[in-house]
């Protein structure tokens, strides 16, 4: 089944105000750069974005925040973005902070048809407010629900025309679960190959989860904390 679309414009067709969008990545690592830039271009507004982080001021989701295109963020950590913190503390931006493991599992659950599950993470904290608490093996757990999105936008290293994806190193992070949880899942890849060129044993995300795939025009792959040692 050929899922290839010709460019980022076609990939994001149907993107509308007030949609819920999942975006893969951890920090700036493994984020769908081309799609984010296109989202800025379209001027779409009122978005609910589910993403572990919120980019930095001038890259990643920070670009959408600068333009005030995001109404609500669902994230686990947003500490690298001053504009974010300003909008949040001023009340312009709704923010739902979720423990990172619960965020990952809730996306997976959304893709896997599991409507809810119990986790110990957040028990006794404000994360647990309004949530059911139940003990298992003498330990309290809270009930967390699945997350899904109108569009899930992920970034992979290699992909084939069937939508099969391979991520590179720690750029994998949230991409595989979000790919499962999109009503429409869009994959931007560094290299798009014909079906049959990827080893079926090495594929991280099966094409069944992906509706549209395209090769990104340019990947800046900005590094957030360049740390090195001397030779």
């Amino acid at each position: 089944m050929n899922k290839e679309v010709k460019n980022v414009e076609s990939a994001l067709e149907g993107l509308q105000d007030n949609m819920t969008i999942m975006l893969g990545g951890f920090g700036l690592c493994g984020i769908p750069e081309n799609s984010i830039q296109q989202m800025v271009k379209t001027g779409v507004k009122g978005l609910t974005c589910i993403s572990n982080n919120a980019g930095v001021d001038d890259f990643g989701l920070g670009l959408l925040l600068q333009e005030k295109q995001i109404k609500k963020m669902i994230s686990s950590y947003v500490g690298e973005n001053d504009e974010f913190e300003r909008q949040m503390l001023s009340g312009e931006l709704e923010v739902d902070l979720i423990p990172q493991g619960s965020l990952a599992e809730r996306c997976r659950a959304g893709g896997a048809g599991i409507p809810a599950f119990y986790t110990p993470a957040g028990f006794g904290t404000e994360v647990a407010e309004g949530k059911e608490v139940r003990e298992f093996n003498g330990k309290p757990h809270i009930l967390e629900s699945a997350l899904t999105a109108d569009f899930a936008i992920v970034k992979a290293w290699k992909g084939d025309t069937e939508g099969n994806l391979i991520y590179k190193a720690t750029a994998r992070n949230f991409n595989p679960m979000m790919a499962m949880a999109g009503k429409i899942t869009i994959a931007e890849v560094e290299e798009l190959v014909p079906a049959g060129e990827l080893d079926p044993n090495e594929i991280h995300t099966a094409g069944i989860f992906v509706q549209r795939i395209f090769q990104g025009e340019k990947f800046e792959k900005r590094i957030e904390q360049r740390t090195v040692r001397q030779k």
Partner: protein, 219 residues
């Protein structure tokens, strides 16, 4: 003399045991990796998706696709493995990681920890900390004993929003090593040259002081 960050990291490194998988938080905990005792083999898990994390890359070898949970460029050791975030927290929640070391703004005598939010002021998010503290059997907190104004951060009760409840077992500060059990801090070791009185004065929570409190031995 109280410990610096490196001193705290060195002392915590003494807690490592052979064969452990270890998750190190951002800040002081990250430094622990530099002081693994001789003869001890451990493997570091970073919750963004790597097991077998190595040192920082040589200048010029950085790879934007290979970072740790602090978003720093890293390397992978022989035998390393990459995985997605759901699998990463399956390792953590499923208690496959033997030790978690993380920082804190406050710790309470019942093992509560606060390290993610100052209402109305700093709201960066909890990242993976809530999963880590709710799941790990063995949590060591690395922190300063007091804040800049000199107020104790070793408390009867946390005043900041909690990250987890009843979870911290051991605290290593610039002044002391303390265990937490039976709803109290128990003084285990003093930093070199730091007196028991200094520690007691800097501790707001209930602190059990045994007759003999040895000095830490570092290096």
């Amino acid at each position: 003399m109280s410990l610096d960050k490196i001193g705290i990291a060195k002392r915590i490194a003494q807690e490592l045991r052979n064969g452990w998988y270890v998750n190190l938080g951002i800040g002081i905990p990250t430094l622990v990796a530099n002081y693994i005792p001789k003869g001890i083999e451990v493997e570091f898990q970073s919750e963004n998706g790597i097991l077998g994390m190595g040192p920082f890359p040589f200048d010029g070898d950085e790879d934007a696709d290979l970072i740790n949970a602090g978003k720093q460029t890293i390397t992978a050791l022989k035998g390393a493995v990459y995985f997605d975030s759901a699998t990463s927290f399956a390792m953590i929640r499923g208690q496959h990681v033997q030790l978690t070391v993380l920082g804190a703004m406050e710790v309470a005598q019942n093992g509560d920890i606060a390290n993610w939010k100052i209402p109305g002021k700093m709201v960066k998010g909890m990242g993976g900390a809530m999963d880590l503290v709710a799941s790990a059997d063995n949590i060591i907190v690395a922190m300063m004993h007091t804040n800049r104004a000199g107020a104790s951060k070793i408390l009867k009760e946390c005043s900041l929003p909690l990250t987890g409840v009843n979870c911290v077992r051991k605290v290593v500060t610039n002044l002391a090593v303390m265990d937490i059990k039976d709803g109290k801090f128990h003084l285990v070791e003093r930093a070199p040259g730091v007196s028991v009185e200094e520690i007691v004065a800097a501790t707001e929570g209930e602190l059990v002081v045994p007759d003999n409190v040895p000095e830490m031995v570092l290096d």
